[in-house]
């Protein structure tokens, strides 16, 4: 220790060397913070995102997220096939409307032909939103049938999540169609937790490293 102190006091060069070493260490820590890890340690690089990694908190938060995303209000528009789902039992949408290239239906069966900018009054009438649509045909963002592990991995992969980086993912909690899940119109159950609780879980999951559960 005394030797080290002597070394520091030897002059300006020693201080500079120490500062450079610290800067390199800090840069490495920051770079690590810009990446996401799954439970197998694979790095998923992300930008504009600083995380305090906590795999336990992350996976715990994702359990809440998963329950919401797999509820009818979210999953019905993220079907495995090309026909949206409908109702609390997630049956195939009556009339078999098709996804179409842009996710907005085809020919005389486009989503907005029935789904208005706002909910239609009355029980089980078409719910509304100005941007009603499914994910597009070239990126279907399927929720239906996905395990927690599969869905978590999908959600943070820009090639499968609508080209969203971490900033956009965080913002997506307040997307108009996401919020519509909590305003589904008469005759439909709400997601299992409030939007505020969902947003907290979503944010926690992402900010603690977006860890994928093991299964």
């Amino acid at each position: 220790m005394i030797t080290k102190l002597k070394h520091f006091t030897k002059g300006h060069k020693g201080i500079m060397r120490m500062a450079c070493t610290m800067a390199i260490i800090l840069s490495l820590v920051t770079l690590m913070a810009f990446a996401l890890h799954d439970d197998k340690g694979k790095v998923v690089p992300l930008t504009n995102f600083v995380t305090v990694k906590d795999s336990l908190a992350s996976v715990t938060a994702f359990k809440k997220v998963y329950r919401v995303l797999m509820s009818p209000r979210c999953m019905n528009c993220h079907p495995a096939g090309n026909i949206p789902l409908q109702g609390d039992d997630s049956h195939l949408h009556t009339m078999n409307p098709q996804r179409g290239i842009e996710g907005k239906g085809v020919f005389a069966m486009k989503c907005a032909n029935c789904h208005q900018p706002t909910n239609t009054p009355g029980k089980n009438t078409p719910p509304g939103n100005p941007n009603w649509h499914l994910p597009p045909a070239n990126m279907k963002m399927v929720f239906q049938g996905k395990t927690p592990y599969q869905l978590a991995k999908q959600l943070v992969d820009p090639k499968q999540n609508g080209n969203k980086d971490m900033k956009k993912l965080l913002e997506h909690a307040d997307d108009g169609l996401v919020l519509a899940g909590w305003n589904p119109g008469e005759g439909r159950t709400l997601p299992p937790i409030s939007h505020a609780e969902f947003k907290e879980a979503w944010t926690t999951w992402l900010n603690t490293g977006a860890y994928a559960p093991k299964k």
Binding site: M95, F107, P117, G122
Partner: protein, 157 residues
């Protein structure tokens, strides 16, 4: 007052902005070719074109149509001679006829976007239009027929 353009004519109507477009068309504009079926966008009898799209006028608020272009069955052609109307007549498609203005308006969007539709295209386009008389085979036949007719005359709407 709400400004509507229906079949290329302008109308000023005194209506609640939340009034269904169907009500405005039938009761205020006075065009009764468009029919009320279910009132909840389930049957397709009330289909009209809003800026070219086959909307269900029973759940479309008149405020959504303000300043936009509405086309009803009465405006589809000048002399009931749209290829679909000719084909519908030739193939004797209707039985009771109640749903057919909606059927034709939906089929018109299909032919505009897919001039030579396959049976699968027809199924996808027409699956939201219900016919309680079960005229579906004749509807399909007439759409194919109209596709052939329109190759000669063209479809504009």
């Amino acid at each position: 007052m709400i400004s509507l353009n229906v079949n290329d004519k302008n109308f000023e109507i005194d209506a609640d902005p939340d009034m269904p477009l169907l009500w405005a068309i039938r009761d205020l504009v006075g065009l009764t070719g468009t029919k009320f079926g279910c009132g909840v966008a389930q049957c397709g009898a009330c289909v009209v074109h809003l800026n070219g799209e086959a909307v269900r006028s029973c759940v479309t608020k008149v405020s959504r149509a303000q300043g936009q272009k509405v086309l009803t069955i009465e405006g589809l052609s000048n002399n009931n001679d749209h290829p679909l109307q000719i084909a519908w007549n030739e193939a004797n498609v209707p039985q009771c006829g109640y749903c057919h203005s909606g059927q034709i308006m939906s089929a018109a969007v299909l032919l505009r976007e897919k001039p030579n539709p396959t049976d699968e295209d027809i199924d996808q386009a027409m699956s939201g239009n219900i016919c309680r008389c079960g005229t579906y085979p004749r509807i399909r036949k007439a759409i194919h027929m109209a596709a052939e007719l329109s190759k000669k005359g063209g479809i504009t709407k």
